[in-house]
Amino acid sequence: MSLEFAYYPGCAAKQVQKEADWAARAVARELGITLHAMPQATCCGAVSLRESKPAFSLAVAARILSEAEAQGRHLATICNTCLQTLSHANYRFKNEPELLEKINSVIVQAGVRAYKASINVYHLLWVITDQVDPALLRQKIKKPLNGMRVAPFYGCHNLRPAEILVAKGGESADHLDRLIQLLGGAPVAYNGHDKCCGFHVMLSDATEMRTMVAKNCLSAKDAGAEVMISPCTLCDMAMGAYQKPAENAVGKEINLPEMNFAQLLGLAMGINPDTLGISRLHVDPSAALVARKVL
């Protein structure tokens, strides 16, 4: 089966969280997933554009989805917020033909191909857990996690609203847990697994955001987590880069290595840590990885 996708990494993976993009490309290559570039794709506008310019945000989404559709491919992303934004627009286009027509009538005037609402929006994680043959994945695991206790941090926009997502969402989502098991790790059950990383209020409610990060990380640590993984570049930024500020805000040490799911998957596949950008992580995972003989 050929797994070909129009690849939409999102703004964070193109700039601050480049390592997630490197890791995604590296693991995709190993697993026979081809990620095709989308040269015309812009930022999806995230949750903000939907608020400031609702019609424009749908037009931006339609233009992105249309580019993937013109390639004859479904779209795959590695950012939860891009996933939710594009899924939300796509859900509406599929269920509200009049809305799609209205938006198409505007974008065609600007020379954009009309969108026919024929494609799906996936997260690369879902592709790996639901479409790649588990036997192939197992065969690629060169450095199993040897029972490492890994906290899955799903991120809101990978789960909710459940109705707009093509994969199992809400409380029934288990893809990250299944991935950890496939890698030979033990998924940690903890309170924060489906909570919010706070990224979207990082600037408006700074203290609250840091408290969220601390609570999520500490609940994972208390449940015995050695490492935390997330499928989202923005969660990575919040739970990883902001872990120090979060420690300062609550006056407690956390020290929980956090990384993108593709980075841990890549390590388990034996891919070079430099290719995966492991040194760019804010909480050094080396000790945890060495302890389980992954490094």
Binding site: C43, V47, S48, S52, A55, D205, Y242, H282
Partner: protein, 325 residues
């Protein structure tokens, strides 16, 4: 019939008035489709008369039986035991983010005080419409099915860390009045809703959409409130400035420019405050480039933007008309 274990949080105030909390287990043989509320009554009637919980309508109407059931806040009378048991165990606890009185009963007072803060009644004023169309209620109707159960408030991720935040139900209620043609103070309401701790403090986590037993979708109402607030010119504050920066960036560069985004969102003072964190990012070579790469065909977006400014189109979701059966 399967046997279920109920792990119930028992809460009781001691002589000093502090709450003591412990878990107690009970087992019951039940049909999978028995409701959690019926199970609780069975326990109270036949095993432990001291077990305290609230209930009234038994039909998902009054909202009084809301409690944490296997991790999420749900109505006990609407939840089948089979759908929430994990390996035969059902965990029950009182709602979160609210003071606990006894066992599964919380003080709903603070929740309602937040709702009252938004003045949950129509006000006289200059913006009151004199004629009302049938379609005028297609926004109001989204939120009128709220039963004030507090499920959303209990699961809200911002409420968990913020005493101040007004919460999803009150904001959904506020939208009900802002979008009501008969309301006379729409703009004044939007101004108040733009204050700290109100609509801009929502993280957009969508938990309230999944938690609501009545499909009110509070977060969708919050998104619409923000749009209306910005349209009325309430754009002073990190929330709206961030939202506005997005469409400027997208038009110009095609991609979001994280460097200027930060500056425009928090302004100069905020940028300095953020600098500590920025330096932290710098150590990892993570300061975003002020010159993001430009996508091909961005001029298309500029064109689309202009077209939409000249001929705005209404893309708001509309509530289905409620027709009596």
């Amino acid at each position: 019939m399967p046997v279920y274990t109920f792990r119930i949080q028992r809460n009781q105030k001691n002589a000093q008035g502090t709450l003591e909390s412990r878990y107690q287990e009970y087992t019951l043989e039940l049909n999978e489709t028995t409701t959690v509320l019926n199970a609780l009554e069975e326990l109270k009637g036949n095993q432990d008369g001291t077990l305290t919980f609230r209930q009234s309508c038994r039909s998902a109407i009054c909202g009084s039986c809301a409690m944490k059931i296997s991790g999420r806040t749900r109505l006990a009378c609407k939840t089948h035991v089979g759908s929430v048991a994990r390996d035969g165990v059902i965990e029950l606890a009182p709602m979160a983010n609210q003071p606990v009185l006894k066992d599964l009963v919380i003080d709903i007072g603070p929740f309602f005080r937040k709702v009252h803060q938004i003045k949950p009644y129509l006000e006289e004023g200059p913006e009151k419409a004199t004629t009302v169309e049938r379609s005028s209620y297609d926004q109001v109707n989204h939120v009128t099915q709220c039963i004030m159960c507090g499920c959303c408030y209990s699961d809200c991720t911002m409420k968990e860390v913020s005493e101040e935040f007004i919460g999803p139900a009150a904001l959904a209620k506020a939208f009900r009045f802002v979008s009501d043609p008969r309301e006379g103070q729409k703009t004044a309401r939007l101004q108040e809703l733009s204050e700290p701790g109100m609509m801009w403090s929502c993280t957009r986590c969508a938990m309230c959409i999944d938690s609501c037993p009545k499909d009110v979708k509070p977060m969708e109402a919050i998104v619409k409130l923000r749009t209306r607030g910005m349209q009325k010119g309430f754009v002073d504050g990190p929330g709206p400035r961030h939202a506005l920066a997005f469409h400027q960036d997208i038009q110009k560069w095609g991609d979001l420019n994280e460097f200027t985004l930060l500056q425009r969102t928090v302004g100069i003072l905020g940028s300095i405050a953020e600098l500590g964190t920025a330096l932290h990012l710098l150590k990892k070579g993570k300061i975003p480039s002020p010159f993001p790469h430009q996508a091909q065909g961005v001029e298309q977006l500029q064109k689309i933007y202009k077209l939409l400014e000249q001929n705005p189109i209404d893309v708001e979701t509309k509530a289905k008309e409620v027709v009596p059966e």
